[in-house]
Symmetry: C2
Subunit: 218 residues, 2 copies
């Protein structure tokens, strides 16, 4: 079965969000193994490396077709290619960054967008001191041009890294301009009653509270 | 039942990680409602606000005792106090930040540690240009003093925001010095064979891939 068949096949199934969130971890480990020259491995081996039960791994991957062979395991190269395709890494998604403060700046300087198949094309900010300048290859435009630029160029993803008070107003502009996905760094739960926009949150507070929970329960 | 009884009671149960990760979302919404003067609400109402099924909410909260009353719902003030305690917000956890580059700098400048009950006490970096200086109230010490400082002052949490290549070596130092929790921003899956240190990852790549998955499957 080739990648396209697998990708088509999965469209009929509803995959749990938890399973989706395990896929990047599988991919990263498979990438490492591939670089190390490993050709195949069992769900037992992969499970041990990731502290995930082998049956969980088999169940997650069975959502996307028949991979492993009894007694042979998974072919590392094929499996990583398929998971990369499932995750949309071959879709050439484009992104803009909205809010080039510290977090936005850090993402532009240090985050390897290419490694996940996304191309960062431009940034927007309200600060006149940085509008018109560039960070690396990324030009910073005025936030006043945001709606028009999104409407015209139709990037797939907006990285939202504006101050909290601007999170919902700016998100509304993005949704009205037709953005498909928002990667939300604002710590604000965005609120779009009728939009089909996909929102993925990086929520620092929630994450630190989870750590605090586990520290309280050692 | 008071907070302490509830907190003791839950110790006998194994709560799923997924349930733990929903608690901060409940807390944030309850905080908003409390500020807005709402005194009680049903699991149906809370569920609608958070796009979580009411039965999921009832099940999550039942892990920690008997809250809601049939026909009355939850008392907002009591429930938020209990969830805050469950999340360890009253434990006065202390944190140090290791790696004061862009991400570290952004956390010091903008992240409200107090809002989750954590106190940031100091930062460490290898860059001689910033060692000995301060960011706001936070003094930046040389990374060479890290092990001694952790051993002596025993902070609960280390925020790891060093470059990827240093992630595991610095984490090892922290574990050897007795750190209890690591909040890991390095995008590296840390590897401690025998440590009891709790690690909570903020993984930007994985999160963007999840967004990419959903955009590929709209």
């Amino acid at each position: 079965m080739n990648t396209k068949e697998l990708v088509l096949q999965r469209k009929n199934k509803k995959i749990s969000d938890h399973a989706v969130r395990r896929l990047p971890r599988y991919l990263k480990k498979l990438d490492e193994l591939y670089v190390d020259g490993v050709e195949r491995l069992s769900s037992n081996q992969l499970g041990r490396m990731l502290s995930i039960t082998p049956s969980q791994i088999r169940q997650d991957l069975s959502n996307f077709g028949e991979f492993g062979q009894q007694g042979y395991g998974y072919n590392v190269r094929d499996l990583r290619r398929v998971i990369a395709a499932i995750l949309g890494m071959d879709r050439n998604f484009t992104a803009i960054l909205v809010g080039a403060g510290n977090i936005g700046h850090a993402l532009i300087d240090h985050f390897d967008f290419n490694s996940v198949g996304v191309r960062l094309i431009s940034a927007f900010d309200a600060n006149p001191d940085i509008v018109g300048k560039s960070l690396g290859d990324i030009a910073i435009y005025s936030i006043e041009n945001l709606k028009e630029m999104v409407s015209v160029h139709q990037p797939d993803i907006a990285i939202l890294s504006v101050p909290m008070a601007y999170a919902n107003p700016v998100a509304e502009i993005l949704v009205e301009a037709g953005i498909k996905g928002i990667w939300n760094f604002t710590n604000v739960e965005l609120d779009f009653p009728n939009a089909t926009t996909v929102v993925e949150n990086i929520n620092f507070s929630d994450s630190l509270l989870v750590l605090s929970y586990y520290l309280s329960n050692i």
